[in-house]
């Protein structure tokens, strides 16, 4: 008993997924990484809208448009790493959360009005994501393979 405990602890220390908490098919860490990258992805819309409000090629336009490009580039870097650790269908089941983030940015940054339908829709989207993402799935063969590769 003691032996297995220390094994688990050392596996955790090494950051390997086998004993880490899992959300569906991924480790908690990669699940968080997926969601941080999706938040980053949704923020591109904010800078895009901020740029759109400025006169074309003004300093503020250039700053905001550069941020759109920077955020998109960072997302592209992150996305490729995230995809290494989960199936595309899993990643895309989570992606509609960007619609909800868009709503959050719209309200907090642009003071846009929110309708009851939007809130109800968001709640249903979240429910769908939670159902689609949950469920005990065995880590895939490729997921195990990548632990050996990396």
């Amino acid at each position: 008993m003691k032996g297995t405990e220390s094994l688990d602890a050392s596996a955790k220390k090494m950051g390997r997924g086998r004993t880490a908490r899992r959300i569906g098919e991924v480790t908690l860490g990669w699940f968080i990484a997926l969601h941080l990258s999706l938040i980053l992805n949704s923020s591109a819309g904010v800078f895009s809208k901020l740029a759109g409000r400025q006169p074309f090629l003004s300093v503020r336009w250039i700053v905001n448009y550069s941020l759109v490009l920077a955020v998109t580039f960072l997302f592209a870097l992150a996305w490729q790493q995230v995809l290494k650790h989960m199936s595309l269908t899993f990643a895309f089941t989570n992606k509609p959360v960007t619609i909800i983030w868009g709503l959050v940015w719209g309200v907090t940054v642009f003071r846009e009005t929110v309708t009851v339908k939007m809130i109800l829709g968001s709640a249903i989207i979240l429910l769908g994501i939670m159902i689609g993402v949950s469920g005990k799935e065995e880590p895939k063969e490729e997921a195990l393979k990548e632990h050996i590769d990396v």
Binding site: L88, S122, I124, G135
Partner: protein, 115 residues
């Protein structure tokens, strides 16, 4: 008039469709082992995928010249159908019934959101 609108809607849908193919290309490459981190990005498949994303922004812009932006909540979420379908066909990913149910509820939510 409607025929014209239909044509530009089709361009938009093609744009969403080729972006979905590009997503699958990214995943195809992510499934491979690479000799270096740089190679994970600088390879023909990933570069072509981003080329397709770039092309699709132009197709969407072209379509938006004639199609009202209000169609956006109907057209853009098509990727949530296209990507898993192409993913299952090309990548042979296994999708549980539970996930299909979740995706269905999610689509319903998108419909309610954009009503």
């Amino acid at each position: 008039m409607f025929e014209g609108l239909g044509k530009y809607l089709a361009v938009w849908i093609v744009s969403v469709f080729i972006s979905s193919i590009a997503q699958v290309m990214l995943k195809l490459e992510a499934n491979k082992a690479h000799t270096s981190r740089l190679r994970e990005y600088l390879n023909p498949c990933v570069i072509s995928a981003y080329g397709i994303f770039f092309l699709s922004t132009f197709l969407t812009m072209y379509a938006l010249k004639y199609v009202p932006l209000t169609y956006s909540p109907i057209i853009e979420p098509l990727s949530y159908i296209f990507v898993p379908v192409i993913g299952v066909l090309v990548l042979k990913e296994k999708v549980s019934r539970r996930r299909i149910l979740g995706m269905g509820i999610m689509m319903l939510g998108i419909v309610v959101f954009s009503l």
